[in-house]
Symmetry: none
Subunit: 241 residues, 2 copies
DNA sequence: GAGATGGTTCGGTTACGATCGAAGTATGAA
DNA sequence: TTCATACTTCGATCGTAACCGAACCATCTC
């Protein structure tokens, strides 16, 4: 007696707190093991195992066996989009049940989103590029200008090489904590790699946060200036119990 | 572990089948009453009431009181976007909610949707009316032409009487199993009543399917011819687990 | 081989929430 | 006023799914 795509099944998969925690943990784009995910979800390994198999057969997760580990990731980036959408909506509704842990400020400042930079720094980077005219925003889409290609070339990004890949060069990705867009696509990935290669920043173990060295941060901020650089330094007040 | 993260709340709201039906029903953009939604969800009014208040306090629904009716709509179009995203994902994943049971073909052929005709027959009826010029489709909206008013008057529909009601005369209602529109609104209701009154068809007990008598079916098909009457007879292949 | 680590399966318990009958409230009609 | 319709609240039932302990399989190290 049911008609239409089964949104209830997807919904109930996301609707369980343990599974929601698992999915949230995987939003960073890194592959995580069942044990790590069990810890993230706050359940035992057996329970997590059951959840993971449900999520997988529901098409939300993919797993890849490597030795005696099983690495789980989101099935594809459409799942990520979907979750971002729900997170953004939930955040805007004030459904912030998110517990502000100690690592939270670092996550908010700079973190990885799939393979590119998100958080305050990610938002700032895109804003600055747009303000400068390196990237033009038309509606939902983004495109690199010739000025931008020159600009980014000067800091070591091989744009023409990126163009040859199948993946779109520029895409905007909505940040759930900021509700503002940051830069995704192959260019977003290349920029982050560039920062890491230069030693401006490094990934934090077992976390999605990205740590900028003082020198790296100085250079980053100089490279991506903003007319109205306001809320990037002040920490946000804690919300919730 | 009741302290679920943000997305779990939204997910579990969408995750209940009854609530998913309610939301799906509201995707048409029309405001519907609690009673209509109860029917759409296949639950009693009390149960629907509980679901509706949950959905509302979850920020997914808005209600507007009008006389002794309570009209519910999606809270805003961001909710619609969200649901569309989930539906799109579910559809692409092949999560079609069809558990092809024995009654399934009958449901697909002709069934009731609130108070009007849906399924193959519903789609055909609207297509035929548009092809004939009785109804003109402009974007999302439908309107009855003067030719159409004459045409339907000839088969016993009092259009001017219907106009006096508050309810819109013509509305298109998207059928998720068909992904095509059928005719809703007071005219859609009147047409179905007309068929039932004439004895062309009757409702099936405890089901949403509508049974056409052989004679009724013959007349119906004659009344609503189609240039390209193709897929109305061949049953779709089962999509099994 | 033995032992350790990573992960799954099974069985039984438990708690949550969906459901409906019945009774109660609000609005409109006669 | 009285009756009817639309909807909500209350209370109780009941099914399902989340959960964990324990046992089991798989892979790596030594």
């Amino acid at each position: 007696m049911k008609e239409g795509p089964d949104i209830a099944q997807i919904g109930s998969l996301i609707g369980d707190p343990a599974r929601a925690n698992i999915l949230t943990a995987l939003m960073g784009g890194r592959a995580l093991t069942a044990t790590e995910l069990a810890a993230a979800a706050g359940v035992t390994l057996q329970t997590a195992s059951a959840h993971l198999s449900k999520l997988e057969s529901g098409g939300l997760l993919a797993q890849r066996k490597q030795g005696r580990h099983r690495y789980f990731t989101l099935a594809d980036d459409r799942v990520g989009k979907l979750l971002e959408g729900i997170m953004g909506f939930a955040a805007s509704r004030g459904h912030l049940r998110h517990r502000p842990g100690p690592k939270e400020p670092a996550l908010r400042k700079a973190r990885i989103c799939y393979d590119h930079l998100a958080g305050d720094f990610g938002v700032r980077m895109l804003d600055s590029l747009i303000e400068r005219g390196s990237i033009s925003a038309m509606g939902e889409g983004l495109s690199l200008t010739t000025e931008g290609e020159k600009h980014l070339g000067s800091i070591g990004i091989d744009v023409s090489g990126l163009r040859s890949s199948r993946r779109p060069l520029c895409r905007s990705c909505l940040d759930w904590s900021e509700r503002r867009a940051h830069l995704a696509g192959s260019l977003g990935k290349a920029l982050l790699s560039n920062f890491l290669d230069k030693g401006w920043a490094r990934r934090t173990e077992n976390s999605r946060s990205i740590f900028f060295t003082p020198e790296g941060e100085r250079r980053f901020l100089a490279l991506f200036p903003l007319e109205l650089s306001d809320d990037i330094t002040q920490p946000e007040p804690d919300v919730g119990p």
